[in-house]
Symmetry: C2
Subunit: 210 residues, 2 copies
Amino acid sequence: MDAAEQLFARRGFAATTIKMIAAESGQNSALIYYYHDSKAALYRHVLERVIGTIADGARRRIAPGSDPERVVRGVVESQVAVLAGNPHLPVLLARELIDWKAAHAEPAIRHLSATLFQELTKAIADGQATGEFRPDIDPTFAAISTIAQVGYLVLASPIAGILLGRGLDGPTDGDIQAFGQHAADFALAALRRPAVPATRASNRLEETTT
Amino acid sequence: MDAAEQLFARRGFAATTIKMIAAESGQNSALIYYYHDSKAALYRHVLERVIGTIADGARRRIAPGSDPERVVRGVVESQVAVLAGNPHLPVLLARELIDWKAAHAEPAIRHLSATLFQELTKAIADGQATGEFRPDIDPTFAAISTIAQVGYLVLASPIAGILLGRGLDGPTDGDIQAFGQHAADFALAALRRPAVPATRASNRLEETTT
DNA sequence: GTCTATAGGCTGATAGAC
DNA sequence: GTCTATCAGCCTATAGAC
């Protein structure tokens, strides 16, 4: 499974052969068919295992019910932590997105969407309700913008690498950590209601929203 | 070439066969080898053609030297326009990123980085110099956050589709247009210096930066 | 459970007629 | 330029010895 995960991530499903996996793991290729029905089944097993670690990591890191700002930071930090802890997770997930339109990952994505993402969206809406965040932003779009930053950095890692002067190998771990910090700050700077000078118009708005 | 572009985008390099391309384009498979040296060469030609359209689209849309806010909007709008105009561009590019670490696209990416991206970064730095933008954000990171939003929406399109309630087929064209508008607003909201109430401290800061 | 051997099919690429 | 025919090699998957 480890060998398969590595190879599927590095070369993709179609370009990885059963014999490669056997060689990489020092086993016989026929043995793989003793444990898995087919190459496709092996791939499903690998993917399910990897997705399990995302779900675990995400679940453990979000303290629900805390204030909006902490939720935003928590989500971005959990992205960074999960991605940093599983080196070929982003590649494997990216391949799944593109090769199968995430068909195998759909249940997991829907679950993350229904929990983590909804919580982020709700935190943003809550922040708007209390007047902490500006009201003129769609909470769903804002949540996507928030997670998109770190997501793009790892999905488009060769591009990000060039933009950061690191070359095609992509950002370093340090870059990702630093960018994660920035991403949370950036999202919160966009969300926070600007401290407008006290005019009548803004006062009226303040009263209706608090 | 059109058939090859479509198939390479839909199924990937390894999973696309020369005979598939021949069948799709109503030609003989041997004829492909008359025009292209190998499958890999055909892929390179397809990719070069596609990348040309990105470069063209980007070049035509950015008015250099305009004010920082216009540059930010222009970059995001050009992303949306190029992606909307070329349906399988994001998929093909995503596959190139992941299958070859963008090795074939490197010159184009470096060029876009040296022109478009540097211009965006410079516009942000300029905005900071004039006091229009807050100074406590790294311009390079801010530029990545800006382009990451629409980039993520199309690269992780099945995820974005689920988050937006559209399913695995991803966001609609309308979604991408609307999100592009939001993305520019979101980035500018993050960048703009908050209009702090006039205290002595903020006045002092104002005087040193303008 | 682990191995060897191999079937059966598809692939990229070429030779050569027209 | 376009076609048919075909090769040599690699692939997934299985049969069967141990």
